[in-house]
Symmetry: C2
Subunit: 712 residues, 2 copies
């Protein structure tokens, strides 16, 4: 359907000229009509036969209302008749309305009687739009009345929303079933609702000055969706555009910063305990093979490297400058970095916005913009990029290479990442501190890691998004290729937001993050430990080829808990086909339980695990395995672990690659077995049934979001 932008422009311009922050009802209706958003049909009748004719054109029932500038309280004046059901009734109602109005106010000028389509029946829903500080225009959908007001059952998508987005919104509310028809009512017309959602989202996207919009209620029936009431709030203040290079530029910049051939350390020091000393040591001892240039006002050499007074004195090209100097000296040094045409500055120093020194930070950003230098930080620990043996931080070194890239907004969480990684021997490609995010933020990192062959998964801790829209755009693209996991902190402290519309008031900050993350294919971690376990486990798991999950367990009790965890993580326990059931039964005792979970029972020898797991891997109908091990003397933990690694390896040799996770119940020896399994590509956990399933569930969420396997 074509959208009449000119009509909208005219209405909005009139409001702007009049200095109005909201539209009148007819103006709002005009917007809707211009964008194909159904509103009740109506016309003004000048006579009784006219009313009958109009009503017949609209279709019954209709509502009829007096039109008179002098009569504001129409009902009180006897100027409203609802439920007019025939042409004859319409003629009669016209007479009654005009007569009542005349009696009420003999001096009133009567312009006619409005005849309007009467909406009722169907399901009342709300469709709206808001402008979020981070995400910009968002379209919202919920059910009317208490469901939205009391239960906050509402869902958001970035505007403009696609038809698929819009249809997904209908299924994203808790009360979705209502739309499918309950208690004998017909299901609503999903396409009509989706079209209206799409049109609303396009309208607010085309006209940024539409700050908030409410269609409330919309009557959704089996044959359409009509907005009974429209409310539009305007804000003509122009938005300040954020600095944002194009993707190719970001890639070029970030590649030089993250994979530099030459690093300058501004404030390098030979003195133990100084940040500039720690950074130098980490660079040198970490085995970084590029050039290292210590910058120092008077030292000739620092830790065996020739020192310079300024980056400008360095003869060669420098890719990144790591700042280890107090905040007050940063702007001046950054100017020299700019003059030297260094594309990136890693600002370790604190003492900027986080301590209230907003102005100091703005000054630094201005210098950076002037010289086109990208800033990491300030107020960060720096970053690690292991493929280059690069440890550009003042923290402890980390050098276990792997496919996981991590970032954190907070230094404390960064340290937890390093500690967990070391403790669990997790291989990482990069760990990056983002701190105050004066410039480089999560979406720059996503853009870099997307094309970084050393990275297969990106895991980010964040407290806010400076530009949620840019993040969502990039994440949506990147998550199709590599899993993106986010721990959004501050999710329960919903900022109170000034909002004058209904939808606006409902826009709880966290619900928006939740919906946009899902829309962007981002896997949300619910806790720090989840973020870390996902970081470690997901890259080890091959992508499942389908949704059929099977549990093979030695402990019936673990089987029950593993099943619970499958439901919690939206995993599909495969319904066991009879032939496969029979095949499994051959390997297990008669009192064991086939089906799913397959309970091989506790007293079984290693061969039972081996046979059942091999069958589980071999049969093409099964796409992923969850193992529940029970520590017995007959099958000790390490025997089980070695056997499982062997079977999985043997199957991989034949081209069978399926995700396998394990839960180990037993005495402390199971810890070593879990560690062995993990080191050999099977995420395994002692004393937990829920964590292995959560890791598998996260992999599945990613694969579904990326369209690699169907949604269940």
């Amino acid at each position: 359907m074509g959208h009449d932008k000119n009509a909208v422009r005219k209405i909005l311009d009139a409001a702007r000229v009049a200095g109005r922050g909201a539209l009148t009802a007819p103006e709002a209706k005009g917007l809707c009509e211009a964008y194909g958003i159904p509103v009740p049909k109506e016309a003004v009748a000048a006579s009784a036969p006219d009313a009958a004719r109009i009503a017949e054109g609209i279709g019954f029932p209709v509502v009829m209302k007096i039109v008179s500038p002098q009569i504001l309280h129409k009902t009180e004046a006897g100027g409203v008749v609802v439920g007019v059901r025939s042409a004859a009734e319409a003629e009669q109602a016209y007479g009654n309305i005009v007569a009542s109005a005349r009696r009420y106010d003999p001096k009133a000028s009567i312009e006619g009687v409005q005849v309007q389509q009467m909406l009722s029946g169907g399901q009342e829903v709300i469709i709206g739009a808001v402008t979020d500080p981070a995400f910009g225009k968002l379209v919202a959908f919920g059910l009317g009345g208490v469901l939205v007001e009391v239960l906050k059952d509402i869902t958001f998508r970035l505007a403009p929303a696609s038809r698929e987005d819009a249809l997904s919104m209908l299924d994203s509310i808790a009360a979705a079933e209502i739309l499918k028809g309950v208690r004998g009512s017909a299901p609503v017309d999903r396409e009509s609702l989706a079209t209206t959602i799409v049109n609303v989202s396009q309208l607010v996207s085309d006209f940024p000055e539409i700050c908030e919009l409410d269609l409330n209620p919309v009557f959704a029936t089996a044959s359409g969706a009509t907005a009974a009431d429209v409310r539009v709030v305007l804000d003509f203040k122009p938005l300040t555009a954020r600095y944002r290079p194009d993707q190719a530029t970001i890639v070029r910049q970030m590649n030089r910063i993250m994979k530099p051939d030459a690093v300058a350390v501004i404030g390098a020091s030979a003195e133990n305990g100084k940040i500039g000393n720690s950074v130098m040591k980490n660079l040198i001892n970490g085995g970084y093979q590029g050039a290292i240039y210590p910058i120092h006002p008077n030292a000739a050499e620092i830790l065996g490297k020739k020192a310079y007074k300024s980056v400008k004195d360095v003869p060669g090209v420098i890719d990144v400058a790591v700042f280890c100097i107090p905040a007050k000296f940063v702007a001046q040094a950054l100017t020299e970095v700019g003059e030297k045409k260094i594309p990136g500055a890693v600002l370790i120093p604190s003492g900027f916005a986080e301590t209230g020194n907003v102005k100091g930070q703005e000054e630094v950003v201005a210098v950076a913009r002037k010289y086109d230098v990208r800033l990491m930080g300030p107020n960060i620990y720096g970053f690690y990029y292991t493929p280059k043996n690069l440890c550009a931080t003042f923290c402890t070194a980390y050098d276990v290479k792997g496919a996981t890239a991590l970032s954190s907004q907070s230094g404390g969480i960064g340290m937890a990442i390093v500690g967990f990684s070391r403790s669990s021997k997790m291989g990482v490609s990069a760990i990056v501190g983002l701190g105050n995010k004066s410039d480089i933020d999560e979406d720059d990192l996503l853009t870099f890691f997307e094309q970084d062959d050393n990275t297969q998964i990106i895991c980010q801790h964040l407290e806010d998004l400076k530009d949620g829209r840019a993040f969502a755009e990039v994440a949506k693209r990147v998550s199709k290729k590599k899993p993106v996991v986010v721990l959004k902190a501050g999710r329960t402290s919903m900022g109170a937001r000034a909002a004058s519309s209904h939808t606006g008031a409902l826009a709880g900050n966290d619900r928006i993050y939740e919906d946009v993350f899902r829309q962007s294919g981002v896997i949300r971690a619910r806790s720090l430990r989840d973020l870390l376990e996902f970081s470690r486990g997901i890259p080890l798991l091959p992508t499942p080829k389908g949704n059929n999950v099977v549990i093979i367990t030695g402990a019936g009790g673990s089987g029950v808990l593993l099943s619970d965890a499958c439901v919690d993580n939206q995993l599909s326990l495969m319904a066991m086909p009879p032939d496969l059931d029979a095949a499994f039964r051959k390997f297990i005792p008669p009192f064991g339980a086939a089906g799913n979970p397959i309970d091989i029972t506790g007293g079984e020898p290693p061969t039972t695990y081996q046979n059942t797991v091999r069958l589980g891997l071999t049969d093409e109908r099964i796409h992923a395995l969850i193992l529940g091990y029970w520590h017995t003397i007959i099958t000790p933990p390490m025997v089980f672990a070695r056997l499982m690694v062997e079977v999985v390896k043997e199957m991989r040799g034949t081209g069978i690659v399926k995700p396998v996770v394990a839960s180990l119940a037993g005495d402390v020896e199971v810890e070593e077995a879990a560690e062995y399994l993990y080191q050999h590509g099977i995420p395994a956990y002692a004393y937990s049934t829920e964590i292995p399933v959560a890791v598998l569930g996260a992999k599945y969420r990613w694969a579904r979001g990326a369209g690699l396997i169907p949604a269940t």
Copy 2:
């Protein structure tokens, strides 16, 4: 309000005699009237003036309906008038109804016109009752319409429910706010609703044959609650009473079983690898000081202990017999145990109900009942009771004494308990396997541990409750004294239940467990790891004296995540009073953040942690502390840990005892620090912000449930 049991008895007896499984509407109404459950007022009018008089007595509006045995379709016959608003209208309606009815069926005998109070307005709610296989009679409450049908927003309590139970139900549904009045509507009369809930719960408790009952809808208004429709389903099959000794008997029996002075091992063996050998070794090597009697058909001595052919040959008293013989020999040996008057049998053997041998298990239970022997198992690992150095299991020994008692229905979970305990050095008083629960179950254990001075917390893994009502009764009492933590497995596999009423169909098994656990003061663990962490952490934490929680953190990022976790765990972050805020500010850098969390910032020396934590412990307005540590060179992990232990100890010396938990962010050294803190009474976790807060939250849930501090 008095309840007329005789009236109910008469109605039910009539239904029973007639062989009916449901009551007619007038009968159901009769039940309601007998139990003070308001139903619409009504009477049959014999004339038009009579109708007017009756209507005036009831109050307007009323509904009027023809009463004629021949006229079944009253509306079709023109025999129904709704919304009668005056005496005059009532008179007229009487005439119209009778005339229409005569026209419709001239031969119909007309007995009069029913005049009934017309209900409308207010909020439609559902009050019902169901009979659960485990919990017996339950009363249910929810909002009418889609909220219950689609969102399953319903809550249950054991019947009979107290007024407090009933009032708590009004707050336990997601849409509770609706009852308080939204969109300008008046709040409902909570006392009237509660009274109806209480009366329904009493009615079904007094008359077990009332299998299901629905009041749907109940119109709840600002001045009352009236049930518009009543449905009653009956089941006259008598319930089979479960064997259940009184509490004093259970205590006596369980004390002998759990703290025996003499143990017989039936099937004791000198042969390595045999269960009867493992049990003997565990008893002897564990350091058990009581008498150990190996029972064996022909051995003279086993592992240095004189052996007997039968327990009957043992000269002294025996308190418990541990069975290590195949299932088929159990019944005979148990007969001898009974004849020897041994009060308890620990049935390790499998091969009973869990493998389909239900009859074999029934036979064993019959022997036990005959001789009054309590049975633990069958199909279990046995049990540990560390205060007596008693390891009556075939598993690995465990001897770290402490205040936590654990039990598991599954052997695998039992092994996970042993492994986790050993790994984390958790002190336990007992670990008990319950297996098939042919007799001894969770409530027997609760009754024992309640009076066991060596136990301060009871943690149970279970898949079902054989007698949920007994469990709830005992748990409600015990949880007032000692925390009871339950991991209910199988919570997501809701058994499909045959139900013919509305409420019945809504009674999802897990929601009932959830509500009854809360009603009983039980803390529910959501995962195996939670169960284990709660087991370890809760007994270390002193009971908080109030709800004010304060976070002191070196890492701002941890502070945000810790705050999230507080909200997730229903903890109240104290609003910081200005004087206290000022007092904290004295210890932290000017750019640190007081308030709550108190962000002392990352670069601070040990004294800053010390001063702020000491102040947090000292100030009486603060009831619990959550610490967020950030690993720095200035305050290394073990320095922090030792200091915190010292401060807490110092404060305890002055009588200040408050719960303190800690989250440690940093490199691997924080693991040692967390371990040190834990061993000294401060539950602490590396790389996790959520687990320490969950442990504190569980302690709080217990303290609130036990009435030790107010609910928030």
